[in-house]
Amino acid sequence: MASESKDTIDSRPGELFVPAEEEYSVDNPDEMDNSEDVGIKYTILQIKEDTTARIGLYIVSIIMIVAIYATIDAQLLDYAIAERFWYHPEFDPDSPEANLPPIGITNAYGEGTVAHPLGTDHRGRDILARLVYGSRVSIQAGVFATFIGMAGGIIIGSVAGYYGGRIDDLLMRGIETLYAIPFLVLIIAFMSAVGRDLVIAMVAVSILTTPVFARLIRSEVLSVREMAYVEAARASGLRDYQIILRHVIPNSFASVVVQATLQIGSIILLIAGLSFLGFGAQEPTPDWGAMLADSRGFLLPNPWFSVWPGLAILITVVAFNIVGDGLRDALDPYIDNSQKEDEGRI
């Protein structure tokens, strides 16, 4: 348990000795004066200091750039760049000009070679290319679903929190029903009804992330609503929606931002799960979850085939989580986010 007593003396900066004390930390002693610790400038400053958050930020930005590149090349230029410089991630063009190694089941999933650093999949397509273009699906899904979920959540949460009473109960009962069915089951049922396609998967996921934000914002609004300045605003004749927009939401913004970053991570995991079960992106769209599903058939001949997509997902989600944690520590070290940490993660 706690470190009992350490009689050894370890010197701290400035040659001053340190009597060993029980090491329970006090972040900032009550005598401290931290009046200027506020504002976006300061948050960025804090994140700069927090090395892990900085690393997370770098990885996230790299992945974002790759995803944007992939989106442009895939959806606008129809893989033109991929075909000229690299491999076409969706088809295994057995066209002679592309001077590709002969494609076929027998030699499809070769190990990593110079031409294919990470090897090829069961259809002879380059795994590295598919990973790069697979990032498009995950990031689009993660960001898209989070923002829609956030928007929906802000609306529902703030209305429920601000007005309370019957409206609050009604909305919250609805949210609770959505919560009652495990996330994945509801999405799968939804998808099988509407059809299996990536866009539908994203819409389904975003509808189902709304409750997470709704609950978060509702609790923030409840606490902010009691604050004096909201009373003052109401007293000065501002109409309700103005109060909500100008005062209530901005102040609950800190935890929303943190939750959004963490939420992107958990949505990427969820979309990967959906694709793994065949409900996400369909062949031949490159998608990390779908690649993992394909790799199941080839665990023996080529185990690496299932390692790479999983690793891609892991690194991306870790990056988002690090940034989320960094933001939380910067915005408010004592944000009581533990409750809202990760509902609904599969």
């Binding site: 088809f91 063009p93 076929g104 089941i105 999933y109 299996r196 062949e283 199941r296 058939g297």
Partner: protein
């Protein structure tokens, strides 16, 4: 036994009929199909690298439990209302069949494995048949097996309107001549009906006693194995019925069938020795079999036929030049060699290899009919046919790894020829909807497979006859219809063969389909199993008139 449609019962119009196309192949989301028809020209054991023929000489031990990993989980063991291949494979062990298959793809009578003592006697030039059954067969509960049970087995599907209804409604009347002889009257004479009579026979009284629970809680057959215990999705446990009325008993004492849907896990259990035989070896694991001395692959040629059918109802594919252009978009040999070997082989005509040989079809002519890849020629033909530049060739297929890959290769070809093509693998429900509609912008080419009875009539009638049950592509050619109808009525090989040869000639000229490939049935078998053999039609063959498997 499964799979063919009764030709005589013409359904009225070709309106949007919901049909299913016999589907074979590993990795199906739904349960995998047990073998239906598989022609294997000469030696019954497969062409695989096994050498079962010689080890039958060594002293076969009796006893021990054989564990068999099925690719799909059986659901219900009631031959009257069979839904999936995994269940019918179990029924084959527990129930005795009216007729059995001999070495090749022809039904024979081989008591005690078949109840019929001899092949049927035909009367009234092929529209009546007399079948005699042996008189000493008994069910597991001691009841005596009589002609009444056989009659019940063939009539009950019509009464209960189960899935087998469409197979047996060719019989206008089934009469009991005496306790052990039956007389079947056919609506239209059809020699191939005997294939449908390789049917497991159920105990009438036991089934009528509790129809709901028959096949679930109570499973009573008359075969050499009794089904002692099973849990859906977990295991099926057989035990040898020591006082079986047959003259010979199976070598193995008991069998345990475990469903493992995931290919790689199934193989791992086999190579770990947890399981003796594994059903359905995926292509990517063939290397593993070569690497592992303790296991071998048994392959059986299966009488099935996979093809790409053009939409004759509407859209660009109704034009012959477009169909020819698409033929130029890919070389069927290379695509099949890349995507399907070693689990299947290329086909150039609507009849699988063994059947084509048996019916002396001009296979080399068929082969010459199809062209190698030539994108310029294809582009010219598309131009000639006046195909708009923004045309997208919609290719659809039900779920299945091999089929999807072939579809993608064809789509690639069309892309290279300058037109857009998209390949969509749909779940069964939506596939049937779309192929029933045959709308030009939903389905121009459908890639699917067929497993009818091993008789040319059932292959051609189903998809090429203008009123064929599975001809939703709506291909129609009067001459071909005439030839198929005559072919069914005539009796005797010499008279039927020329009719079918001519019909196929027209079909190839019209390019109704592009024949693609034939899939094999594959089994992974460990060394401690001997006398295992595969059969062109009925698999797995564990204890039959041909072999008696034993395990260390």
């Amino acid at each position: 036994m499964l799979g063919n449609n009764k030709p005589s019962k013409r359904s009225n119009s070709n309106s949007s009929r919901r049909k299913f196309i016999g589907y074979i192949g590993g990795g199906a989301l739904m349960t995998t199909m047990a073998g239906c028809l598989g022609g294997d020209s000469d030696d019954p054991a497969s062409s695989g690298d096994d050498d079962t023929s010689d080890d039958s000489t060594e002293d076969t031990q009796t006893g021990g439990t054989l564990t068999f990993a099925q690719a799909g989980a059986p659901i219900k063991f009631d031959p009257i209302d069979e839904t999936d291949g995994a269940s019918s494979a179990v029924d084959a062990q527990v129930y005795s069949h009216l007729f059995r298959y001999g070495e090749g793809p022809d039904p024979t009578a081989a008591p005690p494995h078949s109840l019929a003592t001899d092949l049927p006697e035909w009367e009234r030039d092929g529209s009546r048949m007399i079948v005699e059954i042996l008189d000493y067969a008994e069910f597991h509960n001691g009841d005596h097996l009589t002609a009444e049970d056989v009659q019940y087995t063939f009539e009950q599907p019509l009464v209960e309107e189960t899935n087998l209804m469409s197979q047996f409604d060719i019989f206008t009347d089934i009469e009991l001549v005496d306790d052990y002889t039956l007389q079947f009257d056919l609506d239209i004479p059809y020699e191939g009906i005997v294939h449908a009579m390789v049917q497991p026979i159920v105990p009438k009284d036991a089934r009528e006693a509790n129809r709901e629970s028959f096949g679930l809680d109570t499973v009573i057959g008359s075969g050499p194995f009794e089904l002692v215990d099973w849990a859906e999705g977990e295991f099926v446990r057989f035990e040898r019925w020591d006082d079986w009325w047959g003259d010979e008993l199976p070598n193995v004492e008991a069998m345990e069938w475990i469903p493992i849907e995931e290919n790689t896990t199934r193989f791992a259990e086999l190579s770990a020795g947890e399981v003796d035989i594994m059903e359905d070896v995926p292509p990517q694991l063939f290397e593993q079999f070569d690497a592992d001395p303790g296991v071998d692959v048994f392959e059986a040629d299966w009488l099935n036929y996979f093809y790409a059918a053009f939409n004759f109802n509407e859209g660009e594919t109704t034009k012959p030049e477009v169909r020819e252009a698409i033929d130029y978009c890919f070389t069927v040999e290379t695509v099949i060699e890349q995507q399907v070997e070693p689990v299947g082989s290329v086909l150039h005509g609507p009849l699988p290899g063994a059947l084509a040989e048996q019916w002396e079809m001009p296979v080399s002519e068929w082969e010459a009919h199809w062209n190698d890849r030539d994108f310029d020629r294809a582009a010219e033909l598309f131009e000639e046919a006046g195909v708009p530049d923004d045309w997208t060739c919609e290719i659809v297929a039900p779920p299945g790894e091999t089929r999807e890959q072939v579809g993608i290769s064809i789509a690639n070809g069309i892309n290279q020829a300058g037109y857009d093509a998209s390949m969509r693998a749909l779940d069964w429900g939506s596939f049937n909807e779309i192929t029933a509609e045959q709308s030009a912008d939903e389905c121009n080419i459908q890639i699917v497979g067929l497993t009818p009875d091993p008789d040319p009539h059932s292959f051609l009638d189903l998809v090429f006859h203008s009123e064929g049950a599975l001809n939703d592509a709506q291909y129609s050619n009067e001459r071909v219809d005439e030839l198929i109808d005559d072919g069914q009525r005539t009796v005797g090989f010499e008279d039927r063969q020329p009719l079918y040869e001519e019909a196929i000639g027209h079909i190839l000229d019209d390019r109704a389909h592009i024949p693609l490939y034939n899939l094999k049935r594959t089994y992974g078998v460990s060394d401690n199993v001997s006398n295992f053999s595969v059969h062109p039609i009925r698999n797995p063959s564990l204890f039959t008139n041909r072999n008696n498997v034993s395990v260390q």
